[in-house]
Symmetry: C2
Subunit: 703 residues, 2 copies
């Protein structure tokens, strides 16, 4: 930590251009002297009584942070004696009143006897409390009469890294992988510590280091040693390592003739392999599995169920504190089926059939991380099987690293939606499903596909750091608001200037709506092909019918949208009756979901007073124009922002503007071939032709 | 440059752990006060008289460097008046005596009238001179009576980046690409400036930014704008941008029915495209082409020759100062042919048939960047066609980023070899071919496949920075020695401690020989499959016969090696009679080339006094053991080296040691199945079986 301390202090003191590496852990000197001295009076020393590496991380982080924020060195001592005015770290297993109300990782920060005590039942809780205290100071709040209690609402809070052995990241837009497999285990990049610090600051306590399209390499001796070297770094920050597993590994690297999960040799192979892993990584977290999904093999190859597959792995984990996260992201290449329904159809019959060490990981929506998607009907439909949430931070469908989309509203929209699983309104939200309160799950988890890469600023787009931040904060406490998180992140990361904070927070909160407007308004989805970059709503051919664009939007001469009512695929029937009532009727279905569930005539008058066609055009044009508004707003905060960050985001917004117009033009020119209607005033028809925009998209299919 | 200045100074003054980003341009404060003040007396100001951006770069770099080295601010002024004791930058087209002896990019640094004048006929020459003056100070040499004249011996000095549109680098081991295509042109990473500075410091004046397995994207409007944004940065450092082109682009993106280079529409397409590029990039350098090679399309698809293809591109470049670099790396998948002979066979008949804007780019050896390879027989065999050298800095066949191989000896060995193209010994070296002195080429060039990536330290292995450095220095002046370059690089990059400099230089000079010993001794080659990482001398099957390992080593019960004499493929006949005489006789052929040209019985007694088998074992074991020696030597320099760099290299050496033993065991266990002989004393037989090492290699074939 020493090297970081020194660098942080220096950079903050000389106004060095910000390369974004420090994320929200900036610890720049507080300019208001009175305020600084006020904090300093309460932070004269840090009492660290214990040898746990996690507690040491807490003390070190406080020391680093306070040194930066207060501009003075704060000693770490083992015993305060009679001194007061310091910070006392307390991990206590006893019946201390302060920690009665805490769960294992919760913390309480309280001012008493002129000291600030950070107490928890676990060393990790103390570490989270230390970051919370620093956050309090970073955001300029008083620490004089602190009495803060915080418990994580969800037990397992993980990042999923879709990182490959060859150094690439599937759906990564911030450079190559952070994990240098060819150098590990002997060379350990100092950056791993900073990765762990950033996650611990949010309460993230687990990381799946490899792609769900998993390589069997990770289950070989060679790679277990490499993963163990990462685990050795992360352990001091309360972070456990998990592995995505390649289901046929017993065949591929085990030399067995089958990977049938009920075969005794296969079971034994998993038992032995798991033992081997725990020998190298005593706090190994467990397995994440993508099976019988998008070409990945799985138990169904042997006429076994997902439960059979998951339970074999759970059995192997029985002697250890590890779990199986089994993904529900499955669908078959059937042109007559509705992909929307697949996960529900496959998994609800298995409810209650999973081992108690298994949690089923469900993507927020039934399709695939679309910019706006209804919640997955599985939430609320599996009362006897713990379900985990899978979000996606990396911007696979939200503009890669060039579009500014603050994702907290995506996460919140799903978490706050009422599933009506227990009938009457309220209390059956998706959040209540996954935090276990609704069905009394014994195990709770939330995960998100990470957006980190080896780019210096971790996330490519500096604004995308906020999405990592927001996921982490919501994983800890899903009741936080998108606005509150944005405000906090901006102040920790970009500026403390009140006007700039307000302007940027506002931009963030509106960014997702703007993106949806020019990209997939009114319930459109999946207008991409290939790498999910270029617009291709016209895409008719692909390796699978459900990998075309027309499969999703179903444009024809009459109208647009996927009929999922009883006259269509009837996917709506998978929801509770109350939810069905909300969405079943095209007259009352909220616009954001309209084309998800209904095939609507072009001329149909919507509740906005406009026809579908006019409303679509209004969204596409307003959305694209709004990026111009974003540019103007951003330009206004220039004086309050580091020049390098400012220039970087300015450039990205220029690209976003250009691409937003490309999206707009692609959609309206293409849909016009069906609607046969003019672009409504006051909007002007695109200056280019459908062939022009198609040609542009073709570029991104060239190798 | 301001931000760099400040950071460099700070980091050097506080002893911050070195992350390698600054490369050899460290500019740390000179600790010897007397020495520092001595320099300072001669560097009180910098006179910049001119508006050229390249001259400004020179002045800024001097200012940055001197501020760091001398710890004081040195002003840039436009006119010294009567003041003396400064540095005067002079670009002069006139008949100034100082520049008479210079070619366009050469420079002269001379102390006169108590000023140090850096003079050149070009602004780029002044920039090179500025870096030379800084190097003088960085390496602790006197600048009191300077009279330094330096001319580049080769005109075009380029890096070739095998970087792809998807962010990966073919054969890259230092992270993803530096070029952020999805952000460009609106967002311009500040790192591009530091890339340009590093290259300019060596005299590199061109960069081919995309993979020779080229994407047609780079010839679209979209991508030309992106490339232009890079060119705008590099231009101020005297660096021109070049593109690898996809030969069928007129079809792929031009919509033509053919890419036949003699088709008038195709010719016109190239003319128009080239015009478009020069409009965006007025100093565009030209095209690099891999055609009819390893599956890449080319003119032969239309029964045209390489000359036809190259000349069509040259014609398109006629109005501009741009060139065509046409690669000679061609070979056919014919199991009966000898790949060694392919380039010579295809290209020598075309000698004199290329347009004067074409230079044929030839890899140093006839196969493919092997750790040790005889020079390509094309050198000396194309008197009427300018030939360019293609080296490879990135360690495709020399251990990725985990093996320490200093490559100057590889480059020098080739450059210094006598081709005997003009008969008697001396004067016909490969260097004399490519610097134009032998055949009077009107155009000269040297290129190397880069080892840079987005890793913070640019090259993955910190020691690999030396290979970028060595290539650049040799491209400027091939008469420099491997030792001199190593010594200079160590002092600029790692330490000025004389003992440490000596130890590390010695390590560097021996590193390649050690690698060859455990990897491909006595003329073995290509024992890899797949990604060229894991040993697989046993590899018998591949997509092409000449992509197997057994094709190259030809082990059998009698012996080992590829008979390229008249009794075999007779590839030797492609060399001059004098070279043939050196290598034709297995009794006198130098050991490093023995198995390149001869199939030698296991029991054959070599001039070392050992049989082939015993000699092989001796090499493999001694080589692997020598990595242990490298570890010991490196451990000794610890006090003189930055701790972060020290730890990093220590880790990599541990990996290298492990992998060297893997190489040794793989080779001896496999070859033993043919030789049927025991491992000779004092070496102990491997502790594992052939199956064990094979299993280890299999891991690296898993996705």
């Amino acid at each position: 930590m020493k090297r970081l301390t020194i660098l942080f202090l220096l950079l903050s003191s000389i106004g060095y251009a910000d390369d974004g590496y420090r994320l929200w852990l900036k610890y720049d000197l507080i300019k208001d002297v009175a305020k600084r001295e006020g904090y300093a009076r309460s932070a004269q020393f840090i009492v660290l009584n214990g040898t746990s590496p996690v507690l040491k991380s807490a003390a070190n982080e406080l020391q680093t942070g306070l040194q930066g924020l207060l501009g003075k060195s704060v000693p770490i001592i083992t015993n305060a004696g009679n001194r007061t005015g310091g910070i006392v770290l307390t991990e206590s297993k006893g019946p201390d009143a302060d920690i009665q109300q805490l769960n294992r990782e919760g913390y309480r920060i309280i001012k008493k006897q002129n000291n600030i005590t950070i107490a928890s039942k676990s060393d990790a809780g103390v570490l989270y409390g230390a970051f919370a205290l620093l956050r309090q100071i970073q955001t300029g709040q008083s620490i004089d009469n602190l009495a803060l209690t915080s418990n994580p609402k969800i037990q397992y809070r993980l990042l999923n890294h879709w990182d490959n052995t060859n150094g690439t990241i599937e759906r990564g837009y911030a450079g190559g992988t952070l994990w240098k497999w060819y150098e590990l285990p002997a060379t350990v990049d100092p950056r791993y510590v900073d990765y762990a610090r950033a996650n611990a600051s949010l309460g993230i306590n687990g990381t799946v280091v490899n792609n769900v399209n998993a390589s069997a390499r990770f289950l070989t001796d060679e790679y277990i040693q490499k993963v163990a070297a990462l685990a050795n770094v992360f352990r001091s920050y309360g972070i456990r390592v998990y592995l995505s597993v390649y289901f046929p590994a017993p065949k591929t690297i085990g030399g067995l003739k089958t990977a049938d999960p009920l075969d005794p040799d296969v079971k034994k192979w998993w038992v032995d392999k798991t033992k081997e892993i725990y020998k190298a990584i005593p706090d190994f977290g467990g397995y994440l599995v993508k099976a019988n999904s998008e070409g990945e093999p799985g138990p169904q190859d042997y006429d076994r169920t997902h439960a059979d597959g998951a339970n074999t792995l759970a059995e192997a984990l029985k002697p250890y504190d590890g779990i199986v996260m089994w993904r529900a992201f499955v669908y078959k290449a059937d042109p007559k089926a509705d992909r929307f329904k697949a996960a529900y159809e496959e998994f609800t019959p298995l409810d209650g059939k999973f081992d108690k060490k298994v949690i089923v990981q469900v993507k927020n929506g039934p399709i695939d991380f679309q910019p706006r998607e209804p919640f997955s009907p599985l939430f609320g439909a599996m009362p006897k099987t713990p379900l985990s949430m899978e979000f996606q931070i990396t911007q696979e469908y939200t503009g890669f690293a060039t579009h500014w989309v603050y994702e907290a509203p995506i996460f919140k929209e799903c978490l706050d939606t009422d599933t009506y699983a227990k009938g009457k309104a309220g209390g059956s939200t998706v959040a209540n499903v996954i935090d276990g309160s609704l069905h009394g799950y014994a195990m709770t988890a939330i995960a998100s596909v990470a957006n980190t890469g080896a780019d210096r600023n971790w996330t490519g787009n500096p604004m995308a750091q906020a999405n990592w931040y927001a996921f982490g904060r919501l994983a800890w406490d899903h009741t936080l608001t998108s606005e509150g998180i944005a405000n906090e992140w901006v102040r920790m990361t970009l500026t403390s200037d009140p006007n700039a904070v307000k302007t940027i927070t506002d931009l963030m909160l509106k960014s997702r709506g703007i993106y949806v407007d020019y990209n997939t308004p009114i319930g459109l989805s999946r207008p991409w092909s290939g790498i999910h970059f270029a617009p291709e709503p016209w895409q008719e051919k692909s390796a699978r019918p459900d990998w075309t664009a027309i499969y999703y939007h179903r444009a024809d001469s009459i109208g647009l949208g996927f009929d999922r009512t009883a006259t269509g695929s009837n996917a709506l029937a998978q929801y509770s009756p109350e939810v069905q009532r909300k969405w079943n009727n095209p007259e009352t279905c909220p616009l954001p979901y309209l084309l998800w569930f209904h095939h609507v005539p072009w001329t149909k008058k919507l509740n906005t007073g406009r026809t579908l066609w006019d409303e679509l055009c209004t969204r596409f044009y307003t959305g694209a124009d709004s990026v111009g508004w974003m540019q103007q707003q951003w330009a206004q905060v220039k004086p309050a922002i580091d020049p390098e960050i400012f220039a970087d985001v300015t450039g990205r917004l220029a690209t976003q503007r250009m691409e937003a117009i490309w999206w707009r033009d692609s959609w309206v020119l293409y849909l016009q071939t069906y609607s046969k209607k003019p672009i409504p005033a006051p909007f002007k028809k695109p200056e280019r032709t459908l062939e022009d925009v198609k040609r542009l998209s073709e570029i991104y299919k060239l190798r």
